[in-house]
Amino acid sequence: MRRALFLPLLALLVLISAGCSSTGAGTAAKAVDDGLSVSIPSIGAESSLIPLGLNEDRTVATPPVSNPMQAGLYVNGPAPGDPGPAVILGHVNGGGKAGIFSRLAQVKAGDEVDVRRSDGSTAVFRVREVTRASKENFPTSKVYSDTPNSQLRLITCGGVLDRTARSYLDNVIVYADLAEMRSA
């Protein structure tokens, strides 16, 4: 007996994209339950979370650029609120429109990030650090290494726009720690 498999529709999305968001949801390695969402009250960002796996080149997949207000959760990491670094990705913009994380660089230490979990509870995170990292030197270890507590990473693009490559040169990365669990 098996649980229902994740909706296969994502794999069918045709992505029209360029530069910083050349890829879509990629291969979701395992299912992410419905009902997940992220909210950052300080910048008015709120979105459900779709599962994000890997692209064929083993870079992390991103939500479809055709819907830049959609955020996603990297499925090969922990669920938000579980021990470890949960990773949520969203576009800064796409298709000429603002993305869900268009104002992520304005997030400040101490800001609250709420993630609704599949069981209906809410993991409340506090931002510890907001960094801008060159894509050439992406801090893979800092982002994805094991952590002693439940942590959250929010990732989007930022920095200088490379118009030739139609891509941003940096990633904006927010690091947050679990502050509280609110029951459903």
Binding site: M1, N76, G77, F138, D146
Partner: protein, 231 residues
């Protein structure tokens, strides 16, 4: 082959009732597995508690680094945690051995033994364990229990049953990819054999130590994230 006694859940009773030595061996293997599972559960609980104690003691000690009592408490918590890890590992080893023995006994029984389904509703192990061990009978027995993924203690345990009969009579591999129950237990790369359920103390990049459940991110992506379009 007709076996006179009822193959009830209690190992001793089952062993007495089963006149066929193969069935007696199967019953004994089930009994051993049940006891090993109980011992492991207890050890795992102790380890979890010890891990939590270490995390708390670290937080306390970090908050007051000059408090000698807290430092002592932290050292004690770490020692107890190490002790619990050793016991858990030992119990885990015993459990895996019991599982292997059970798998072999299931193969050896090969349908000779009566299915336990007729007795499980009226007689359960004294331990109160309600889960049905895998492979009560073989796939050829029409009276076999319907094994589901939740009946197994781990994905490898389900995989072992699938490997015994690739026709997959229990539909443990509904998507026919060769892996049993990965939707229930998760990615096969996180199987217990690669420390899924072993709590270990990691030293993190910042030098801190803490109890972590194996590798929290199972597949680390390469490079940066393409999260913005310039169009």
């Amino acid at each position: 082959m007709v076996v006179g006694g009822l193959l009830v859940g209690g190992g001793a009773a089952a062993a007495q009732g089963a006149t066929d030595p193969v069935c007696a061996a199967l019953a004994a293997a089930k009994d051993a597995k049940t006891k090993a599972d109980e011992a492991y559960d207890e050890a795992k609980t102790n380890l979890t508690n010890a891990s939590s104690a270490v995390v708390k003691a670290e937080a306390d000690a970090n908050a007051a680094p000059n408090d000698a009592d807290l430092q002592t408490a932290l050292a004690t918590a770490r020692a107890l945690h190490n002790q619990a890890m050793t016991k858990e590992a030992s119990a885990d080893s015993t459990r895996r051995g019991a599982q292997m023995n059970l798998n072999q006994a299931v193969s050896a029984a090969a349908g000779k033994c009566p299915p336990p389904t007729t007795t499980t509703t009226t007689s359960k192990p004294a331990s109160g364990t309600t889960s049905q061990p895998p492979g009560g009978t073989t796939s050829k027995n029409p009276g076999r229990p319907d094994l589901n993924c939740q009946d197994f203690v781990s994905r490898p345990a389900a995989q072992a049953v699938l490997n015994q009969d690739r026709s997959d009579p229990y539909r443990l591999d509904a998507d026919n990819d060769g892996y049993a129950c990965e939707e229930f237990f998760g990615d096969p790369s996180k199987d217990p054999d690669v420390d899924e359920d072993k709590t270990v103390v990691h030293t993190h990049d910042d030098g801190s130590e803490a109890a972590c459940e194996g590798d929290q991110v199972t597949v680390v992506p390469e490079g940066s994230a393409d999260t913005g379009s310039a169009l």
